[in-house]
């Protein structure tokens, strides 16, 4: 990675962190509110279905975490393993896909978009 690319990764990590701070405060509040009446598929669908505000919120939240977690994993792998850069990149990318793909499916599905 060139110093310029490393800087961009650093900016992406801090930028996504700032989005996640707001997202997590809302998410923690929503969790605590949701568990009071007990969680069920119907409860989650009822909260999400057709609600554009929640849809946009969770979309931003998901994109931010899909950037943030893989970069964090990348930093750990670089520091504690001697894996080649290419493998570290691939593992991180795999984590991004493993969060983003099922996450998008869940958010679009709960909002009510047919695939």
């Amino acid at each position: 990675m060139s110093p310029k690319q490393e800087s961009l990764i650093w900016i992406a990590q801090r930028g996504s962190a700032m989005v996640l701070i707001i997202g997590l405060i809302v998410h923690l509040g929503a969790i605590i509110a949701a568990v009071q009446g007990g969680i069920s598929a119907a409860e989650i669908s009822g909260r999400m279905n057709g609600h554009t505000g929640w849809f946009v919120f969770y979309l931003c939240f998901l994109v931010a975490v899909s950037i943030h977690a893989p970069i964090g994993l990348r930093s750990i792998l670089i520091e504690v393993t001697s894996l080649p850069n290419r493998s570290v990149g691939l593992i991180s990318l795999l984590l991004a896909v493993m969060i983003l793909a099922p996450g998008l499916r869940a958010i679009f599905g709960l909002y009510g978009v047919e695939w």
């Binding site: 996640l20 969790i31 893989p70 750990i76 984590l95 969060i99 869940a106 599905g109």
Partner: protein
């Protein structure tokens, strides 16, 4: 214990790293389970029933504490990087721990 490890900033770093790693592993599972809510509501509700198990509830509380610790610890990292250093930033480590435990407790009280 090595001198550099016996320091609150080292512990804050360690908690941030471990919580981040655990959350990164949890996230794909979290998304897959959410997908069940649309795909197969009965299976999803069966899964939620399993989470009523006290041990699972305790594990969930642990995750909430780790999430809150990563959030508050992240605020600490951003303060270190973007704000000029102040001595109160050392006290903030204890405050982040307190807030994280409090959020976990609020979750546990509401969930049980």
């Amino acid at each position: 214990m090595q001198q550099h490890r016996n320091h609150s900033n080292y512990w804050a770093f360690l908690v941030h790293r471990i919580s981040g790693l655990v959350l990164a592993v949890f996230l794909p599972v979290h998304m897959l389970v959410l997908g069940l809510a649309i795909e197969d509501a009965t299976r999803f509700d069966g899964f939620i029933e399993w989470t009523e198990n006290p041990l699972v509830k305790l594990a969930e509380t642990g995750l909430i504490i780790l999430l809150a610790a990563h959030l508050t610890g992240g605020l600490r990292v951003l303060a270190l990087e973007f704000l000029p250093w102040h001595d109160w930033q050392k006290t903030v480590i204890a405050i982040t721990g307190g807030i994280s435990l409090a959020i976990g407790l609020v979750f546990l009280l509401n969930a049980s």
